[in-house]
């Protein structure tokens, strides 16, 4: 079976996003919040390649982050990024959705999902949280993620160099 020439590009984007998220982002914090490079990459890939690729990239990249970084869970981030990739991909399968909602909003919504999921995980694990700190950290993370969303989207679009594929209903090969 022939491998699409853009598969290596998607893998490269995911790898770079994971490394940046693990090695660089934790050191760039404002008000204890940090930008989420990975969610922007997953959203952009999902926008261009659809729900399936977005979900697979989200799951694999989330799992990689949990393996490489000192995170107290394994599988939680993978599940959250999978949900983001799939959700954005599914939403963008609709005709005209990409024009209505800008990329930044997708990234902010995706980051909301990740943050809420992680807070829920903390609550489930009975870890102490202070409401004020939680609000400040989440707001900071959302703002920082919104700031880096567009540049990352432009980079991903350049690397993939393709119009987005609406799957699976409108594949040209379906005739």
């Amino acid at each position: 079976m022939a491998v699409s020439p853009r598969v290596p590009a998607v893998i490269a984007i995911a790898l770079v996003a994971v490394l940046v998220q693990v090695c660089v982002m934790p050191f760039l914090t404002v008000a204890q919040g940090m930008p989420d490079f990975l969610v922007c990459a997953v959203v952009s890939v999902a926008l261009f390649r659809g729900a399936l690729v977005g979900a697979v990239v989200g799951a694999c990249a989330g799992m990689a982050v949990e393996l490489l970084a000192p995170v107290g869970t394994l599988g939680a981030l993978a599940l959250l990024y999978l949900a983001v990739g799939y959700g954005v991909g599914r939403f963008c399968d609709r005709e005209g959705a990409q024009e209505v909602l800008p990329v930044v909003l997708f990234c902010v919504i995706g980051e909301c999902v990740v943050q809420v999921g992680q807070i829920a995980m903390q609550v489930l694990l009975a870890r102490p949280l202070i409401a004020g700190d939680v609000v400040r950290e989440v707001l900071a993370a959302l703002i920082l993620t919104a700031l880096i969303a567009l540049p990352i989207h432009v980079i991903v679009r350049t690397v993939l160099r393709a119009p987005r594929v609406i799957e699976p209903y409108r594949m040209p090969s379906d005739g």
Binding site: V56, Q118, R127
Partner: protein
């Protein structure tokens, strides 16, 4: 959603997509469940440890490469805070900070390293003090763990106590919870899974259990009500837990200061609030007490 209007190929693709995504969800949930249930020596923790070891050189290099950016970023955020607190002094601050930035970072690092070198001399017999740089932090603020650039090759094993230094003092900040050949994961005391048997100076030998209650705040439970405790009393590791069991921490490591005491008239114990000497969020270096003697190694083997 109806699939009646789709071609067979499209239907097959829909089915394949659902199967793949469903499979991924199942894998994630199972991994999450198994990882949460197993101990630190379990197979998934082992895989995580190996992956961390593989990426350690990259993290070290990245950490060094982005150090100037990090310092500039820290300076920038400090500046924002200063402007919030004292806008009327902004111009003066600007000039002072420009001057400070040139020399402050180097001096501060030297000061912290000097403090780290002097603390803990009473444990020299049982422990080797291994200085370590923090090369990886959690990409999420919700997890109280970091990765350091020392591992079993340097004598750093699981349950090795970890010390840190800050402006207000130096003391215990956490414990090694995973260790590979060239790197290790340190869980800070603020991780809710961590608890420490402690004693309070001037309390007639009162022993209690220190646990985090919120980020940056701790409580000590089990101190007898008659123990005289006052705000400002230092808190040290007890060397054993509340039930007389051996602790992984040697006796006498400073942890923090008492900030509040609460007891009812009918209570037999009192609950005490403590503020730690060291805020781990601000640290770039740590010192690991690597067990050297048989006694220290036995402590580290404590379940």
């Amino acid at each position: 959603m109806s699939n009646s209007g789709q071609t067979p190929l499209a239907q097959r693709r829909v089915l394949a997509r659902r199967l793949i995504i469903g499979g991924l969800v199942v894998v994630c949930v199972m991994t999450l469940s198994v990882f949460a249930r197993e101990t630190n020596s379990g197979p998934l923790h082992g895989v995580q440890n190996i992956a961390g070891t593989v990426v350690t050189p990259l993290q070290e290099g990245t950490s060094r490469a982005i150090a100037p950016v990090r310092n500039a970023w820290g300076w920038f955020t400090d500046l924002l805070h200063a402007r919030d607190r004292a806008t009327q002094l902004a111009r003066e601050n600007q000039a002072l900070r420009t001057e400070l930035v040139q020399g402050q970072f180097g001096a501060e690092e030297q000061q912290r390293l000097a403090k780290l070198a002097t603390i803990g001399s009473e444990w020299r017999a049982d422990y080797s003090q291994v200085p370590a740089a923090i090369i990886g932090r959690s990409p999420s603020p919700w997890y109280e763990q970091v990765r350091i650039d020392k591992g079993t090759n340097d004598g750093v094993i699981v349950n090795s106590p970890v010390l840190g230094a800050a402006d207000v003092g130096a003391g215990l900040v956490g414990v090694v919870t995973q260790s590979g050949p060239v790197s290790a994961v340190v869980s800070f005391l603020s991780d809710p899974r961590t608890s420490v048997g402690v004693t309070i100076v001037n309390s007639d030998g009162g022993i209690g259990l220190l646990q985090p209650t919120a980020p940056g705040a701790f409580s000590i439970t089990g101190i007898p009500a008659q123990s005289p405790i006052a705000n400002g009393d230092p808190v040290m590791t007890a060397g054993f837990s509340r039930f007389g069991l051996q602790s992984i921490y040697p006796r006498g490591i400073p942890i923090g200061l008492i900030t509040g005491v609460g007891r009812g008239e009918v209570d037999v114990t009192q609950t005490v609030q403590m503020s730690p000497f060291v805020n781990p969020d601000s640290l770039a270096y740590l010192v690991v007490l690597a067990p050297k003697s048989v006694l220290a190694k036995q402590r580290a083997m404590t379940p």
